[in-house]
Symmetry: D3
Subunit: 339 residues, 6 copies
């Protein structure tokens, strides 16, 4: 990642981070009034990209060596959940490894062999990429943690928490000298509740000082909420895209919103969107293995221009892309905050 | 509304009511065998007609000053439920007020401030338009009642019933000297049961003499039933369009049928359709925020010709239109009655 | 009932009502610290007092012609729920009519024939005794209303509310010129929720102006709350004994507390006990057809002395008696209020 | 059915059965990698093929007198479930009798009059066609059995099992001298569990020696499994196509897989697909009365060429067709077996 | 068993069966009005009669070689359910074998090894004693069948039905030339529904011609009903003692009633008690491992005198005894019938 | 605590710990065959020991300054759950502080003010007593941690884990250099599942390296299992008394068993009782606020004699005492192990 570029004579960019000019950014379509707009190429990853895949969704990508790399949730035709690596020149066209990731792990008790891995996130932190995902320890979901330098070899650490937990999302730098993670305690099934919590660790192994960040609110986020992509550091606070769930008489509906968290005390929510940013409305979001799901897991940004690209799973079947601009988004969050 | 026109030399029209020539009626499509047919312009109101709307559905319209007016359920992008007024020249193209209705109400205990209003009906009764809707009193659903003369100022009365109740539908004239309303007692969630009851009132405030009208039956109406549009007075009885719900292994499926109720004792069902008139079969009915929902809330008629236009919500997302003819419909109800 | 007696030279009695010297009052046992104490003769009515009774509980008694009369819930050995009249010289030893009450009713639709009647209350109001109970209209529970002059002939009116409702309790005089009733809207089963509402009527037939009185709170009253005996008018407000329900991992636990309601606006709660007054602790309250139930339905008072006798059902099996003194009770409510 | 043809000089055909050259077989589309491929004419039977049908799906067809005949599940517009006969020249274009089948039956207790029949299978066995279906005895689902020689007159036997049961599938010949049937015991609703069992009978009336065949496994078949078409006899074992169900947060998802059962002891599973063969992925499978359902009920084969055509219901709304080739399919089952 | 004795000059005994003078019969206690009365020695078998027993209940006894034998449900201190034999001189004091029954069975698939056996019945039929019980085939409950000549060696046959089933009760002779059994289809847990069905078999292996006998009714038998002891043949029909279950807000309550079934067509209910005969009212019936359970599994009779002794489990903890007289009981059934 | 005494010439005591001669130990009653026997003084703490207590149960005691101290769960008459300290000369007669414990805590976010504290354990560890309990952080249960030197001042640390968790039990010394705790992840209600996990910490604030210790098994421990008293170090391993739950049709039944855990890797279970040690069988265990509960929270021992006294809550109402001897208990665990 290149350094952030100060525009001459102007204010510093809102996003504290590098440039990413080589993603094929799309402008907001004419006539569109929304703060977030879908890619015209959606779904950018079809369900059957690999020979054995039933669906590819809820996946995480990052800039890597001038191109892109990612960790993908590929459910196979047995409907087992697996993690695969992938590489791409432009972030749109992907080569996904047909074989699942094999984690190096010296600890047989927690080594991840089985087929219960899902919903990965990838975070550049200090000197390497960390992967967090929902991992099936003894058949119970909790937060798996691993790292890689090259998206070839992956080294698995201890699970971060006791079961039952999902949607573990690391912060991209230490806060107050400690590693920090968001997560969503759950139960062992289709959990009908869910709050976002914040925990810290001196060593990425032992976790404590747990703090509640956000509860469900009304409307689209009334059943549960969970962190989405790695938070983006901005001059206004940590920008967190998150998912919210509403229970209709036909089951769960997953939409996405955004919040600004305090930079030093991220469990303090400064602003949080009352309306959703995006909800299931297109055919590829409404129809699939699980209808009516929009589930963001990664957000790439170009700090100088403020552009943000959000990768999200649709209908638990395909992977899609949406765009926004950071200043417009922060304006929207502030103007539509329920805090 | 103009008076009913007696066709010279012919029998009196079946519908007891006025003429409505200026709706853009559509004839039954060639080859269609159904007693009810969809508008070719469906969905006539898209989900994003206003800047803040997530969806517009389950709404009520009436003829008004030679044109049309209505009260619309507009869920905002927070997925909160609100009521908005709207006006239209032809009943198809609508201008919906971007701001929710503000009810005048002297009683702070019951004044409707919150965002839990939904599924309105509008009824011309004696000298004004009455609006009934599902109102959140103390967070519990019950039947809100208000009136307007001009669709600008709305005056809220007492809630008609104790919680928990939904789908309150007024009759368009007094019966036996008293005001009359249909409703569907419920619980506080996605109620898996529901019968239509009839209640009367001397003053639109105190209600009593509650009578059961109809229970669920088999097939499409086996889980619950609820009144739809304001009943239409005909020479054969009150024509009631109603919704019925079937529980599939993927949740509720909402369809619509019709019944004829006794003119003087409307809790007596004379005929009631065993088959549905319309069920979710088009893409806009099967795909949306809540798949597989057809939910009628208003029916306009042209008494001389017997044409009826039914407005219905589809997939809890958009508003649609369907047509029928009263004599054909009554024939169908009689020929396919489960009573 | 005789008039209230002013004690010479002292303040007027707290209870606004008559004297009742002929109940065999029991003093608080030595060493007892509780504001409410059980009769040493409990259970005062055994389960098999009549030849056909499985259980006799949740019943209402009143002073009548210098002695006592009542309406009793007698479940028969079919476990059907019925109402029977009874007479007693002292309020302890009862002759219960072996035949259920037959209500006179000109309206066949609502006439109560079936075996789904339960939990009666009896209220002296203006010139006669009114009975309210949970009545099965079309198989759905709602509030039945009837009156009697002599506990021989009973005349049934319209049901007060739409289904689903339970625990309808009349006030013993008009308030603001209107009849007033408390009730607890419910669903059709073992309702796991329940709030007390207040409604008024000009004629005991049409009811409106519904107001929320109290919701569940914490601890013993965290699942649902419902009115118990007819409220007692005191100089401090309406004294309402009510039941509250806690859900343990082994089912519902019914206890009882008390509240003071505003005399003119009884939906306003002035004080309400945070602790229970009585909870299931004796063998006859903990063991029976429904373990762990204390359910008060009637309260007799002697205004000059302030003594109050509370009849309550125990374990849905037998009828019991407990005593308190009004000034001590009001002191306790104020000192332990959660309002 | 004609006899199986030995290809000169080659090995005997894998399928032990006749030729069926006159079905309009479709080759695998170019670029398709799947072992099973959909007909380009899907859905081959639309939902409204008859005047009263709401949907036509989960139906069974057989070769008959050089053409085709079948028994169809036609839900009417009441959403009642019925069985109708149909005839076709090519297996694609069907004439379905607008009247439901009337079964001859001397036993009034079990004669099938009502409207709770669904999911038929048809099996040529010895000298006639047997129909099995889910039959509503006393309102409870169990396995109905009947036979026909001509698809005009149907003769109903005793129900095979006690309630509650579904998906009774006969074997096409006696095994060990006895008739044999697969079935899936259930409960009275949307059963969330289900295993395939095997039972035998000397007379098609009394059944016993019940054996477990297969339980749910992981992924797409984790909630329940049930037999699909009549098993096909092959030199490798009985080829059983079966459905499996996964429970997503939006309800059940029905897919299909295949297994090979021992020829003499069919309760022994030799191989069974870990991945599904087909899951809901097209619009007609994902959108309809019950979204996300693929449900096979019949499989026709041409033994010399090894072609197999599978009829399956889609979204509980329409009937579809898919193709495979037996040697490729058996290879796939063996290569992807979870046994 | 000795032959039935004709009383000289009198009518033949109502019960068609032998004499049993050596049971220590107890007369109805003074003042008791009930048609069934409890033994003063209850509970006749304590929970800890064997060194490993947690509870002994829901068990079956028969006259045997002038004394008594039985098959007992002994849950061990692991709370696993097992069957043990026992012997007694007088039917009250029992020696129960500390080791569970080992069934001889040539069929490894169905041989009963595990610890999921419960609720046995024992039936003298033609030339031996048959035992039926709830057997865990593959972890699913169904009806196990075995026979013994000597209560030492037991020979297990095939399970009678597919899972899920409980309370299989044989008739003591062939009817219409076939063996006959009552049973109660269920699901795999605490089944909240249950009807009694009748099935026949030529060989005790294959079962068919299934007929509904009785559904739940109101009150104490509103959730489910199941057959209890082996039916007693009388001149008025088969006398069936059965259990019924009511669901209170604190769980299931098991009581018992009786019915008369047609001698030749036992699925026809001639009379059936509307009230229960016995419900949980004593401390040993209301308090124990499962509170509020009365569950009869055996009935012994002395035909000349018409005395009947009923063995029943209480609170799923101990075994109790109650008495009745056949003519009084039949009179009661007829006078209190809901048929 | 005094040092362990080596008996001259004999083997070292099995328990690695001190002497405790001053508890009024009771011998096994004559005729009792059980490895655990109840105190003849049960319940040793009645429900109303303090003026405000509804119940006192599930509490922890330790030897303290030659006498005894403890932390008690005292539910008040509001049925709110609180922790109180208590002191006793003999461990039987207790003075319980009428005011709840006030924890010193510098962190306002986690300071425990509310009334959702329950089921404490107390552990002597290095230089002070640690208290762990189920603490309501933000209304969600998790494991609170505090310490005291004198049972007067208590200092609260961070909660150990994310919600949802219960039954946190510390080990009485570091293992492998780290603090160690057992816990039982749960959900937010009457959790119907539960396994025991092991976690370690360098600082009692950050926890990690989570390991599964034991799952539910069959019978009495089939629904969930949770650690009871502080594990006792023995020469055979850590002796863990734990509770197990069975779900009957009338709710949860709590019993207790025991296990031996590896001294160095305590997540390895060496032996574990298949039968329970104690289940609800007495009136005070079967009748109370929650029927059928035995719940041990503390175990005191006298190492030289091997006597162990177990404090357990009964029926969620009172506190009881039972006794065992360590060598007999370990023999029993080994002889009856399901591992």
């Amino acid at each position: 990642m290149s350094d952030s570029l100060q525009r001459p004579g102007g204010p510093p960019p809102t996003i504290i981070g590098g440039a990413l000019p080589n993603l094929p950014w799309e402008d907001r379509p004419a006539g569109c009034r929304d703060v977030l707009w879908r890619s015209t190429l959606n779904p950018v990853i079809p369900r059957n990209l690999t020979a054995t895949s039933n669906s590819i969704f809820n996946s995480a990508v990052v800039p890597f060596e001038g191109q892109f790399a990612g960790v993908f949730r590929c459910d196979d035709k047995r409907r087992r959940m697996q993690l695969h690596t992938g590489r791409s020149v432009d972030g749109l066209r992907w080569q996904i490894d047909p074989e699942p990731i094999v984690f190096h792990c010296d600890e047989p008790e927690t080594r991840d062999f089985n087929y219960g891995r899902y919903d990965p996130r990838v975070c550049w932190l200090e000197d390497r990429f960390y992967v967090t995902w929902c991992n099936g320890y003894q058949g119970y979901p909790t937060i798996g943690v691993a790292y890689t330098y090259d998206f070839k070899e992956f080294y698995q650490l201890e699970n971060a928490f006791l079961p039952f937990n999902r949607n573990g999302v690391l912060f991209p730098r230490r806060i107050g000298g400690q590693y920090a993670m968001l997560s969503r305690p759950s139960d062992n099934g289709h959990t009908p509740f869910g709050d976002v919590f914040y925990s810290v660790s001196p060593d990425l192994v032992h976790w404590g000082r747990h703090r509640l960040v956000m509860r469900p609110a009304d409307g689209w986020q009334s059943t549960k909420v969970g962190a989405g992509p790695i938070p983006i550091e901005t001059r206004e606070g940590w920008l967190l895209i998150y998912h919210g769930v509403l229970t209709s008489c036909n089951g769960f509906v997953y939409s996405a919103g955004a919040a600004l968290l305090d930079l030093d005390q991220p469990w303090r929510v400064i602003y949080r969107t009352a309306p959703y940013l995006i909800s299931p409305q297109t055919l590829y979001e409404c129809v699939g293995d699980v209808p009516n799901v929009v589930f963001p897991c990664a957000a790439l940004y170009d700090a100088p221009s403020g552009r943000i690209a959000i990768y999200y799973g649709a209908a638990d079947t395909v992977t899609c892309l949406a765009f926004t601009q950071v200043d417009e988004l922060i304006r929207f969050i502030k103007d539509n905050s329920l805090v």
